[in-house]
Each structure stands twice: as C-alpha cells, then as structure tokens.
C-alpha cells in the first residue's frame, strides 16, 4: 500500500472510531469535553492562578483564586517528618533514601535469590533503624513515639515485608503439608485472618494484645502494630504462594524426590523458586496494596504521612488549604504506587513473552 492510501484508511478508521454513529460522536464529545475541563482546571488552579513561595496567606491566595502552595512551602517539614526533632531531620531524610535504595535494588533481576534479597532487606532495615532510633555512633536517641511522616510510613512498609514474607512462606508450606491436621489448622488460621478487616487486626494488636502478653513481651505499640500488619500481609501472601505451587507440574517434585533430595532441598531449590516465579505479578501487587494500607495506622494513633499532613493544615491559619496538602501527599503515594505497579506489569509482560517463545 502506498503512503497516501494508507493514511486515507487510517483517517477512515479514525473517523469510524470517533464519529461512527451518533452514540460514538456523543461519547467523543463528552469525553473530550471532560478531559479538556479537567486539564484546564488543573493548569488554571494549580499553576496560573496559584500562589507560590512562603508569603501567601488565606487573603492573598483567595484573591488570586488558585491553589495556595504556600502551605507546602511553609509546612513541608511537618508533612514529611512529623514531630521528629527538627535538628535531626536530616537523619530521617537519609533513612528514607536508604529505603528507596533497598526497593530499587530489589527490582534488579540479577539480585533475585533468597540470600541476596534477605541480605539487602535486613541490612537496609538495620541501617534505617540505626539512623532513626539513634543511640549508636554518637547519634542522639529518638524515641519511636516521635517518629512520623514519610519515614514512619516507609518503616511500617519495609518491616511488614521483612516480617511478613518469611511468615507467608511458612504458612504456605504448612498449608500444603502432607499431614492433614497441620494443613487443616493452618488453613483455618489463614482464612480467619483474611476474612477480618485489617483495621480490626491493627486495633486488636494496639489495644487488646497488651492484656494477653506477659510484661516482657508487650513492647512498643509501633512494633505490635507492625506485627499485626505483617500477619495480615502474610495471610494474603501465603495464598498467592499457594497459587504459585498449583502452577508447578507434579513431576517436578516427584523427580526431585526420586533424586533423593530432602524436604528442605526440594522446597528451597525446586518448589519455592518456581512458585515465586509464577506468583511474581501477584506478589508485587500485594506489596503495592501493603504500601497503601500502611496509611491505616492513622486510626490507631500514629503520625504517619497522612496524619502528619492532617496536622499540617488543621493547625494554624491553613484550614482552608486542605486540597493543596492532600494533593501533595497524593503525589508522593501515587509516584510510589504507580511506579511499582507499572514495574509489575512490565515484569508480567516480560514473563509472558518468554513463555510465548518457548
């Protein structure tokens, strides 16, 4: 087909897609109008009529008629770090950088072995904890109750993963055990946790658990809540791993048995690596959900990113500027979550492409 002919057919297809029938034309008009209105509102409100810099007040912002980004310029340290001591906030920023590095490193396929990933995550958590908690290397100790903002969100996320993943593997292996009693009971445990709302589990861990634990085990509220989040994560992740198990042909394990491999060798070298490969997209999705769900700890009284944002506009003269603060926080969450879910989609496409070639 020659150039003009091809462009003519393309034009024809375009016309059919956009204006093929009255319904399609109406749909096009509506969608274009909605898109245009949203885009224009964002540019007009967020940029053209917005007030930048630290000197905006309710009066000047209202006169300009756009967004009042001054609230971010004035309050960004409260939003990002909560009530962490002001002079020590460089440590919190550094700790966030460490977590970002850990997450970036675990996205590199070359580092995907149990030992390397475990090393990266435990090392990252240890460095993060040392920076935040202090008390070593001449750093001033900072109590967990003063943690807040983005570092707290990231800490809950990372700790959920570090504790939840081994728990999930354990639960998944228990559920597929050959011993009926073990399989049945762990199945009940998983199903019960999955049918409860995460909020009720966090609440139980924060408020009820202290009654049930002997004094030396109670510990800081933060760690109990993190444990609850990890347990919830593990119950869901265990089912994802179980889905991975189901995709492995039976012959694989039988062949491993015939070769005389022990149970742990079979699991560690044959079954689990294949199960994780099959369950990879769902696992990344679960991590995305876990990240979004860290924001639930607001309800049991932690000052993570969302709660810190709330205090940033609820105190002082910024009560009118709630939208600007929420847009700022939403951008942080969106960058992370969207990036991770795109990465998951890319991995899935890559895996499927590999299968198609086989």
């Amino acid at each position: 087909m020659t150039g003009p002919a091809r462009s003519r057919t393309r034009l024809k297809r375009w016309r059919k897609d956009y204006f093929g029938s009255p319904g399609a034309a109406l749909m096009t008009l509506f969608s274009v109008a909605a898109l245009g209105a949203i885009l224009w509102f964002l540019i007009d409100w967020g940029l053209i009529r917005a007030t930048f810099g630290t000197d905006g007040t309710q009066k000047t912002c209202a006169a300009a008629g756009g967004a009042c980004w001054s609230v971010i310029a004035v309050r960004w340290r409260v939003i990002l770090f909560g009530i962490y001591p002001f002079d020590e906030q460089w440590r919190a920023a550094l700790a966030c950088g460490v977590v970002a590095l850990v997450i970036l490193l675990s996205c590199i396929p070359r580092l995907w072995s149990f030992r390397r990933l475990a090393l990266i995550w435990t090392l990252g958590t240890a460095v993060f904890y040392a920076l935040m908690r202090g008390g070593v290397l001449g750093l001033v100790p900072v109590n967990e109750q003063q943690w807040g903002g983005l570092p707290l969100t990231l800490f809950v996320f990372v700790a959920t993963g570090v504790i939840g993943m081994p728990l999930a593997i354990g639960l998944a292996l228990l559920r597929r055990s050959d011993y009926p009693l073990i399989a049945r009971v762990s199945g009940w445990i998983i199903d019960t946790i999955r049918s409860l709302p995460l909020l009720s589990i966090l609440f139980t861990c924060a408020i009820v658990l202290p009654f049930m634990l002997p004094g030396f085990l109670i510990g800081e509220k933060l760690y109990r809540v993190v444990f609850g989040a990890a347990l919830f994560f593990a119950a869901y992740q265990a089912e994802i791993i179980r889905g991975g198990f189901q995709g492995i042909p039976l012959g694989q394990e039988e062949a491993a048995k015939a070769l005389g491999l022990s149970y742990w060798q079979r699991m560690g070298r044959i079954v689990l690596p294949q199960a994780f490969r099959l369950a990879l997209p769902a696992t990344i999705n679960q991590f995305v959900i876990a990240f979004m769900e860290t924001s639930l700890i607001v309800v049991v009284g932690f000052m993570e990113l969302l709660a810190a944002g709330n205090t940033a506009f609820k105190t002082g003269d910024w009560k009118f500027a709630y939208a600007e603060v929420y847009v700022f926080i939403a951008l942080i969450y969106f960058t992370f979550v969207f990036g991770l879910s795109r990465y998951g989609a890319y991995l899935e496409a890559r895996m499927n492409a590999g299968h198609a070639r086989d």
Partner: protein, 392 residues
C-alpha cells in the same frame, strides 16, 4: 520388612509432628487466655456477656433506627451491624454501576473515552482509600456554614450535611418499608435463579417473580400509609431557621463522604474487572452472533454481556468482600459502623475480649454469607461443561 519399618517410622513422625504443632498452638492460646485473665482480675473486670443488657450511656453518630443513651449494648451492636450493611449495599451498588460504565468505556473502541476511563482507573486505584476518604470529608466540611447554604433545587447543602426534601414519616416506618422491598426483591431473584423453578414455563416464572416484587412494594406502601400521622403534611422541605436548617432529610457529611469514597474507589477496581471480563469473551462468539443476523444491541445484551459476566463474577466476589471490609474505615471520620461501635464500646465498658469475639464473629458471618450467596449464584449461572470463551 524394611518397607514396613520405614512406613512405621514415617507414621510415628507424622504423629509427633502433628501433635507438636497442635500442642504449640494450644500452648499459645492457653497462655494468652491465662495472662488475660490475670490482667483483667488485677484491673477488677469481670468477664461474661451480662453487660450486653446494660445501658451504654454514650451516643451513636448515625443510626438507621432511633438510638438513645439508655439503650442496651446489644441494640447498639445491632444498629452498628445494620449501618455496616447499609453502607456496604450503597457502596457495592454505586461501585458496580460506576465501574460498569468505566469498564465499558475502557474496553470500547472510542479512544477519547478509553483515555478518560484509563485516567480515572489509574488515579483512584493508586491512592490509598483512607486518603481519598479524608479528602472527601475535608471537602464536605469546607462547604459554607448553614446560613450561607447552597441551594440546589429545593435541597440545601452546607457544612452540616446535605438536606434533601423528604417524606414526613418516622425512621422505623422507612426501615419497615425498605425491609419489605428488599424481601420482595430477594424472593423475585430467587424465583428467577433457583433450580426449583427451572421446570416452570419462562413466562409464568417471570410473572411469579414480578408478583413477588409487587407484593414487596405493596407491603412497603401499606407500611408508609400506616406509619404516617394523620393530619400532618406528607412532605417535609428543608428550610433555614436561624443558624440551622429545619425539616427535610439530612445526610451527614460522614455518611456521604464514606459512600463517595467507597463508590469511586471500588468503581476503579470493578472497571478493571469488567474490562477483563469482556476481554475473556472469544471473538468467535461475537462473529457468530453477527452472522446469525443479531443487531449490535442484541449481540451486546444477549451474547457479550452474559458471557463476560460469567467470567467476571468469581473476581467480583473477592472484590465485594473486600469492599464490605473497607466500610470499617468509617471510624476515621466518625461513621458509626459495626467496628466503630465495637471500638467505642471497648473504650467505655472495658469488656475487651467479649467485644473482640463479637467483632470477629460479625465479620466472619458477613463475609461467609456474602461469599456463599455469590458463589451459589456463580454456580447457578455457570455454563455446564463450557469455559467462557466457548473452548471446551
């Protein structure tokens, strides 16, 4: 000989392992119970469910039927459960309708509509639900004060809530009427779906189902007529009276903020599920329908939609269960759902364990009922021996 001793060793190992596993779990449970009893005894609290009959002494922010501070705990718990179900029904319905629209736009051929739907899904799916809830709630609270209420038609909108024109009848009557309609609708669906009525002629089956629905509506009408106080006006219009609004039907900010958040967030997920369902319908099905001379609308309503629905349902079930659990977020803005009632009861009465047990029981009940009903529906509509794409 060697084989039998090997087998015996294996069975001994099995007993030891399973016994050890059970003993470990029993030890944790018993240890926790004993510690809890000790702690409670030290604080002078008694256990047992006798407190359920005691008056609560605190107020519920929102309830469908009237509550007062002298009502017992069991009534509050019941009202909390009802609120959760109420929010769940609103949220699921709204999310399904909006999600269907978004999903259809996203799987259609119109590129502009597809872009709009994609933007919607990516935005709402990639932000935490609680952040969206806080945003809607802050927006609701930033509305003008009652004196500067916005007037939309004859409804008033201000920071204290949305005041809609309403019927002048009591909440008990409304509950009765809704119950009657709901029971009628359930019977109607049952007649249409249950295997028991398969042998009936389709026309009679349809008529019977309509009759059930009609009976429900009639009962609701009777309830409304009986509940209305003679001599008073039938409708109540919201009007400004000094610093507040009188009359009308008030929807509180907590209620509609939570409803909007769950609907818009759920719709993004439902939209993706709908798209997946349409993708699962084989091309050949539509081509065959077109070859038979069906009109585009017939192809959509008789072939594409039913097949896509069958592919969606199993995933939708999980999503619905998830959305019901998400209503617990109401506690963050002060909507008195089941979880919030439990949390405040624990604060006020100190009967921690009993309430946690009730909480777990309540959610297990809701989830299992919903999952059981939807799974039954899934089995009832499944094509025997077929997958959705028509490949055997």
């Amino acid at each position: 000989m060697a084989g039998s001793s090997f087998r015996r060793r294996k069975s001994v190992r099995g007993i030891v392992l399973q016994g050890g596993f059970l003993a470990l779990i029993a030890a944790v449970v018993i240890g926790a119970t004993l510690t809890a009893r000790d702690t409670l005894a030290k604080q002078g609290l008694t256990s047992g469910f006798g407190f359920l009959r005691k008056a609560t002494g605190w107020e519920m922010n929102f309830s469908l039927l009237p509550t007062t501070t002298s009502d017992p705990y069991w009534w509050y718990l019941l009202m909390g459960l009802l609120n959760t179900l109420f929010m769940g029904v609103i949220g699921l319905t709204g999310a399904s309708v909006l999600g269907l629209v978004v999903g259809l736009m996203r799987s259609g051929r119109n590129p502009a509509a597809r872009l709009l739907a994609t933007l919607y899904i990516e935005l709402f799916r990639n932000l935490p639900l609680i952040l969206q809830l806080f945003f809607w709630y802050a927006m609701a609270n930033a509305l003008p004060a009652p004196r500067q209420s916005l007037e939309i038609g004859r409804a008033l909108v201000n920071a204290r809530g949305i005041y809609l024109p309403g019927l002048a009848i009591g909440p008990g009557t409304v509950a009765l009427a809704i119950l009657a309609v709901a029971v009628g609708a359930c019977v109607a669906i049952w007649v249409l779906a249950a295997r028991r009525f398969r042998r009936m002629e389709p026309q009679r089956q349809r008529r019977l189902s309509l009759a059930a629905l009609g009976a429900g509506l009639a009962l609701a009408a009777v309830a409304v007529l009986a509940g209305h106080e003679p001599g008073t006006a039938w409708t109540s219009w919201p009007a400004l009276a000094g610093l507040k609004v009188d009359g009308g039907f008030r929807v509180q900010p907590e209620v509609y903020a939570l409803a909007i958040a769950i609907m818009t967030y759920g719709a993004a997920y439902v939209g993706e599920i709908v798209r997946g369902g349409f993708k699962a319908v084989g091309r050949g099905q539509m081509e065959a329908a077109a070859a038979l001379g069906l009109s585009p609308w017939q192809i959509f309503s008789r072939v594409r939609m039913p097949l896509a629905f069958r592919a969606m349902l199993p995933i939708l079930i999980n999503q619905y269960v998830w959305l019901i659990k998400a209503t617990t977020l109401g506690i963050a803005v002060g909507f008195s759902d089941f979880f919030m009632v439990i949390a405040s009861s624990i604060n006020h009465s100190g009967q921690t364990f009993e309430f946690i047990a009730i909480l777990m029981g309540g959610f297990l009940l809701i989830n299992f009922t919903l999952a059981a009903v939807l799974n039954r529906l899934n089995r009832a509509i499944a094509l025997k021996g077929h997958q959705t794409t028509g490949v055997q």
